[in-house]
């Protein structure tokens, strides 16, 4: 089956768009999934912004993951939920798009992106410009109700070293093959930055659990700041990530994340933890 616009696409319909300025859309999380991580909600908002940016430069360039100043994880979601997506572009040109956005479910915000920057790359190196133009028209017109997304293969960090409650180092094996590579991107498969973030949040959660020790509850991730992805990650790469506690004085510890391929720094972020909300 052709996985283009299926295996890693998270906009079902574009409900309104002011090209290069703001765009609104929807995504129905397939109800038969076991879970849908919040990092993929971030991907959905980013993809919505990308549609507006691509249209603004006449389908000649497209943004890729780069920088997010702040990602707030505000509420949990469930398979079957419909995401209302909104993105506001601060600027877009041939070099970069900057934007912010939010995803809501039944009026409640679940994830907010602030000051994101996506470097613009030549579109035809990554995808078929005609196919994208047609898809954009389709999403603006009828859109789709198909639950095409079937989940992503489990990629978990494998701990190789650490010091309890202080730092953890782990390897991350990027799959050689996965359906999402056919969609991200058809002409140049790249491991999505949001999936790297998802894997790294597992590592941060493991460190958070160690921090809590025998005195639960375990603090949870409330926001991720200064996310920066420095290079493309091709299929099959073996990466190494390190989560390190850098602030522990307050109720809101901060963990730094660094991902490397050999000595080359690939990605960085800071994870802000907070006590679990009382239900």
């Amino acid at each position: 089956m052709d996985e283009h616009f299926r295996a890693f696409s998270f906009v079902n319909r574009i409900t309104s768009v002011s090209i290069g300025q703001q765009v609104r859309g929807k995504y129905q999380i397939p109800p038969d999934l076991i879970d849908f991580p919040l990092s993929l909600v971030g991907e959905a908002v980013g993809q919505l912004a990308a549609w507006s940016a691509i249209a603004a430069v006449n389908f000649e360039r497209r943004p890729v993951a780069g920088i997010a100043a702040k990602i707030e994880l505000l509420n949990s979601i469930c398979p079957g939920d419909e995401l209302e997506l909104a993105a506001d572009l601060e600027s877009v040109d041939a070099e970069a798009v900057s934007y912010g956005g939010v995803a809501t479910v039944r009026g409640a915000p679940v994830l907010r992106l602030e000051h994101c920057v996506g470097p613009m790359v030549p579109l035809e190196e990554f995808d078929d410009p005609h196919a994208l133009r047609s898809r954009f028209a389709f999403l603006r017109d009828s859109g789709t109700n198909e639950n095409a997304f079937k989940g992503v293969p489990s990629v978990l960090p494998q701990r190789i070293a650490g010091e309890t409650g202080k730092w953890i180092r782990a390897t991350i094996q990027v799959p050689e093959c996965a359906p999402f590579f056919a969609d991200h991107f058809p002409r140049r498969p790249v491991f999505p930055g949001t999936l790297l973030m998802h894997v790294n949040l597992h590592l941060a959660a493991a460190l958070a659990a160690e921090l809590a020790g025998n005195t639960p509850p375990v603090p949870v991730v409330r926001s991720v700041k200064d996310v920066k992805l420095r290079t493309f990650i091709p299929p099959g790469e073996l990466l190494e990530s390190e989560a390190r506690l850098i602030e522990s004085d307050s109720e809101s510890p901060v963990i730094s994340l660094e991902t490397r391929k050999g000595k080359r720094l690939i990605g960085t972020a800071r994870v802000c933890l907070a006590p679990q909300k009382k239900s």
């Binding site: 890729v64 040109d93 041939a94 900057s98 470097p119 200064d226």
Partner: protein
């Protein structure tokens, strides 16, 4: 705006915030960010860092910094064809660049200079100057499709 006079006092005034912004973007200590530090050679900046720095400076100083502004200002009234040929800076362009980036030590200018390598010359002071120019210009709008301020993304 390429002929705007910029004083040492003006540079001194904006430097602390520029240094703080750059340190945040590069994940380095602010003490490491000196006025004459080369962004690429001394601070290890990559293409994505140039984008990060520019957008952070825009927010910190509430100015717009059009992509390609440094090279555009350096070129002045030289046409693109007079400034570079086949991706290499012409003699006239080279002299213009040396005069415009007068904060960069002369021994860092080496001919032939590829246009793509111009960002290797940029120092922290280069960005202090562009902030001051844009403050004086009064937040001009960002035009689309200009040349990049830094190297292209990987």
């Amino acid at each position: 705006m390429s002929n705007v006079t910029i004083t040492k006092e003006e540079i001194t005034a904006v430097f602390p915030k520029v240094a703080e912004t750059m340190a945040d973007a590069l994940g380095s200590d602010q003490e490491e960010v000196k006025l004459d530090s080369s962004l690429i050679n001394d601070l290890g900046a990559e293409s994505i860092d140039f984008l990060d720095i520019v957008f952070r400076l825009e927010r910190a100083f509430k100015v717009k910094i059009p992509r390609g502004k440094i090279i555009e200002d350096a070129r002045g009234d030289l046409s693109e064809a007079d400034f570079e040929k086949g991706g290499v800076v012409t003699d006239a362009g080279f002299q213009r660049l040396k005069a415009f980036l007068n904060e960069v030590p002369a021994d860092r200018f080496k001919a032939p200079l590829k246009v793509a390598d111009i960002p290797r010359l940029f120092t922290v002071q280069t960005f202090c100057k562009i902030v001051i120019r844009q403050q004086k210009a009064g937040s001009a709008a960002v035009p689309a499709g200009n040349q990049p301020v830094g190297p292209q993304p990987a």
